[in-house]
């Protein structure tokens, strides 16, 4: 004991050395015991971060072997069926790193699987944040930052998909070329500049490579940094529960529990990805052959996360207008506009909702989706809309798999896109309201215990088991909103915006189940006791 007091340990000396030069102790003091709440859905964001690390590591390995060039070479690697075939250096090097580098195929598959998990986890994380209202003040900006990350992830995915210069990736680029050419006035020129001349040219792979490994990753890392800083500043949301309020965070401190769990989870995510990469083939690019503008295989599809865009193209009827000798390709512009509008609404939704509710309080309690039926219904309708466009990217495979007419499949999907979205909205709202009513019942009268009792008068009743106060709190603790009246503003005027807001609050909150009040609970208790 005295020895340690007189002679500081090596760790202590090192810490002191570091702190005297960086004042890092301030950071540790502030963040070291910061509390993170616990819920399974909060892991989704972690999965994004950890799969991104796997992407960075495997991607760096790939750059040591991949040659981003469209110069012609004749393949001379291990894969016999393609021996002597003329192809781009990019495709040849992708084959070489798969077949002639130990662990190369593993790293390529790890990179691809990790990218798929990255985007899938982003989608699920966004849904979690949306459906629990975790985007509300003060987290609106972080929602937008996260949204930008989603778009960057899609861009990373598409540029990466295009690099190997195999038949599939070339066809993807052909579609991009066609879509860009459909843009009025500047489309032809944008395509020309993008491809460095006529499609396919021999510039696109090196150009996309620079975007894929330099510009886009730099942006992703920067925005992840902002996302994390804002997470620390705002602190994590938590679900309602006993002891949890809007003014506290209940959970595990970073040092040591949260750090240990998160660190271990990183290794688990990474390990699962490597296990998948070693056992499941992804993108067997040797089967497709080098890109050539003439052949194409039936059932061609993009990676699933681009599917919604491809599906939108498939569902659009063939409309074009020719006016003053100019061509306007509605069959391309409408899908682009619809998708653009869709994602812009996703991005600005927090601001729309806040304008409607007029609620300027900070919210740190994650809502249960049922307790905001209209928002949940909007989200579900959005998910449906996205899912149908996504399914439409497989319309031909659906047709061949279920022996249907591909034209009929397309018509059915068109109908489901328009009608289904409305139906899903309505249905979700009803289900959410129904669940709220059920919660009310349980809170007021307890669970059905399954115990049947015969009363002295001969009447049979089922005994209801009341909730304990901790379980009850989860059902009690939520906020609700009500429609606002049209009222004149400070200048005594009623503006169109006032009318619009009143109408929107009616749309949002007209059908609602109010939270149980203490008085109601009191009355119900007295009634049940009789």
């Amino acid at each position: 004991m005295t020895a340690t007091a007189t002679r500081p340990s090596l760790t202590a000396k090192a810490s002191n050395y570091l702190d005297e030069r960086t004042s890092i102790s301030t950071l540790v003091a502030t963040l070291g015991r910061k509390v993170f709440p616990d819920h399974w859905s909060f892991m989704l964001g972690e999965i994004i971060l950890y799969s991104f690390v796997a992407i960075l590591l495997s991607g760096t390995f790939l750059t040591f072997f991949f040659e981003p060039s469209m110069t012609e070479v004749h393949y001379d690697g291990s894969y016999v069926p393609l021996k002597g075939v003329a192809m781009s250096a990019a495709y040849a090097s992708a084959l070489d790193l798969s077949f002639d580098v130990r662990g190369g195929l593993l790293m390529r598959q790890l990179h691809h699987w990790a990218a798929l998990l990255f985007i899938a986890a982003i989608g699920l994380h966004m849904l979690r944040v949306f459906f629990t209202g975790a985007f509300r003040k003060p987290r609106e900006i972080n929602w937008v930052v996260g949204f930008i990350l989603f778009i960057l992830a899609l861009a990373e995915g598409f540029t990466g998909y295009s690099l190997p210069d195999d038949l599939l990736s070339g066809n993807g680029l052909a579609i991009i070329n066609g879509m860009v050419k459909g843009i009025p006035i500047v489309g032809t020129w944008i395509s020309y500049l993008l491809f460095g001349g006529v499609f396919p040219g021999d510039d696109i792979v090196p150009r996309l490579f620079v975007l894929h490994i330099m510009l886009l990753p730099a942006l992703v890392i920067a925005f992840i940094g902002i996302h994390m800083v804002l997470l620390v500043v705002n602190k994590h949301t938590q679900f309602a529960g006993p002891g949890k309020t809007n003014d506290n965070v209940v959970g595990a401190p970073i040092m040591p529990l949260f750090a240990a769990k998160a660190g271990s989870f990183f290794f688990i995510v990474f390990g699962v990805l490597v296990a998948i990469a070693s056992t499941f083939t992804i993108l067997p690019l040797w089967e497709y052959g080098p890109y050539d503008p003439s052949p194409v295989s039936a059932g061609t599809q993009p990676d699933w996360y681009i599917g919604f865009a491809d599906g939108a193209l498939r569902l659009m009827p063939g409309w074009e207008t020719e006016i003053f000798n100019w061509t306007i390709s509605w069959n391309i512009l409408v899908p682009i506009a619809v998708l653009g509008l869709f994602i812009v609404i996703v991005m600005i939704y927090p601001f729309i909702e806040q304008w409607i509710t007029g609620d300027e309080r900070e919210h740190h309690i994650a809502e249960r989706p049922r307790n905001n039926p209209t928002r949940t219904a909007i989200g579900a309708a959005g998910v449906w809309f996205y899912a149908i466009m996504w399914a439409a990217a497989s319309s031909d495979l659906i047709a061949t798999h279920f022996r249907l007419n591909v034209f009929h499949v397309t018509y059915a999907l068109q109908a489901m896109l328009i009608v289904g979205t409305v139906v899903v909205y309505w249905l979700t709202k009803r289900i959410a309201l129904g669940l709220q009513k059920k919660d009310r019942e349980i809170l007021l009268h307890g669970y059905e215990s399954g115990r049947i009792v015969r009363r002295p008068g001969g009447e049979y009743i089922e005994v209801h088991q009341p909730l304990d106060e901790y379980e009850a709190w989860k059902l009690k603790a939520y906020e609700s909103y009500a429609p606002v009246m049209v009222r004149p503003n400070a200048k005594g005027r009623i503006t169109p915006a006032t009318h619009l807001r009143a109408a929107l609050t009616r749309w949002f909150f007209e059908d609602r189940v109010s939270p149980v009040t203490p008085r109601e609970l009191e009355i119900a208790k007295r009634h049940d006791d009789h």
């Binding site: 662990g103 500049l193 396919p200 040591p256 003439s294 061609t300 498939r314 063939g318 397309t410």
Partner: protein
């Protein structure tokens, strides 16, 4: 302005008592429903784990964590063993598979075992007591907010930013113009030639033989049996190297050749001479977004694009019968030469592939529209 002040003063109140985000203070026509509320019962009593209660269970958990970490070490060693013991033999796909599988599984074991061991440690042995941390409003303290405003005002005063409007506006103008050279710099991403000219024509010329893709063998009319479909390139394409724009030229010139029974072919007036004995040739590049229209249905004589299912009827000048494409596939006028080989009469009479803004400016005077609708828009 009055409104802003009001908001600030309210926020100040709020800051002084952050635990009470009073609904009343914010309720300026907000849709918040008032409620008298219940009282939070507070954290439920902490429930100890088995490892907290029984020292032998704690020791067992400790041993398990150690075991996982040892397994991880084993995994790392196995990965190196797999790397050396399972080399890739050139031409042997089974060796690639084995290397990929065992190298990957060993690395996965090393990673997963650390993860599982660490998680076990965290969940069973580290303190499980929940910690409560206070939250404060995200905004800065009133003091720092006031100081920030003061700093901006000082900055404005000392620089005269809003007072010297001419300086300010010219600065804004200078900065606004600055990106323009950067935009101009991008012009040389593509060659100097006109973008529209570059895609308006293909390499088909009068007398160019139709040849098989990709061998470049010329096709005799006699060899095209009824119901067959050929993927076609211009014969001279085979002399062009990949580094001389082979793919670019092919992407414009790819053609699909089909022979129909003569009685099935419905030819528009003016296009009667464009086919040869039931043999018709169409651009293979879809008029929607430019995928190759490669699927031919022999029974219906439909051409189907596998990308977005645009369907073209070959018996009627490849008009669109389904899908997001609007225009028929451009037809290549063909005939035969003295030796019986199929040749092009000329280039396509309209630009091939997806529609683009300037397309109608590049329609050849000899172009024969196939549908009444098309004729109408031309006129």
């Amino acid at each position: 302005m009055a409104n802003d002040n009001e908001r600030n003063s309210m926020s100040a109140e709020d800051q002084s008592a952050p635990s009470e985000q009073s609904v009343v203070a914010y309720d300026r026509g907000a849709a918040i429903e008032q409620s008298d509320g219940f009282t939070n019962p507070g954290l439920p009593p902490h429930r100890p784990r088995q490892t907290d209660l029984h020292p032998e269970k704690e020791r067992r958990a400790e041993r398990q964590v150690v075991a996982w970490f040892l397994i991880s070490m084993l995994g790392s060693v196995l990965a190196i063993v797999a790397y050396i013991a399972l080399p890739i033999e050139p031409g042997n796909m089974a060796s690639v598979r084995a290397n990929n599988l065992f190298l990957g599984l060993a690395i996965a074991l090393a990673l997963l075992a650390v993860g599982i061991g660490g998680m076990h440690w965290a969940r069973q042995l580290m303190s499980s007591h929940e910690v409560v941390e206070e939250r404060h409003l995200s905004r800065g303290s009133e003091k720092s907010r006031a100081r920030a405003v003061e700093i901006f005002q000082l900055g404005d005063q000392e620089s005269g930013f809003s007072r010297r409007t001419l300086i300010r506006n010219t600065l804004i103008g200078a900065v606004a113009l600055m990106p323009l050279p950067a935009i101009v710099l991008f012009r040389d991403l593509a060659p100097a030639e006109d973008a529209v000219e570059a895609i308006a024509h293909t390499m088909w010329t009068s007398g160019e033989r139709l040849a098989l893709d990709p061998t470049g063998t010329p096709i005799r009319a006699d060899d095209v049996t009824i119901g067959s479909a050929f993927h076609v390139i211009p014969e001279s394409l085979k002399d062009i190297g990949h580094n001389e724009g082979y793919l670019d030229k092919k992407a414009l010139a790819a053609v699909l050749l089909v022979r129909l029974p003569v009685d099935r072919l419905k030819e528009a007036p003016g296009r009667e001479g464009w086919s040869y004995d039931g043999i018709v040739a169409y651009s293979k590049i879809c008029t929607h977004v430019g995928c190759p229209v490669a699927l031919y249905e022999q029974q219906t004589h439909h051409l189907l694009c596998p990308c977005h299912q645009s369907t073209f009827d070959v018996t009627e000048h490849a008009k669109v019968v389904f899908g997001p494409a609007k225009r028929p596939l451009p037809q290549l006028p063909i005939t035969v030469d003295d030796e019986g080989y199929l040749i092009a009469q000329r280039d396509f009479t309209e630009p091939i592939g997806p529609s683009f803004w300037e397309r109608l400016n590049h329609i050849d005077p000899d172009h024969v529209p196939v549908s009444a609708a098309e004729t109408e828009t031309r006129a």
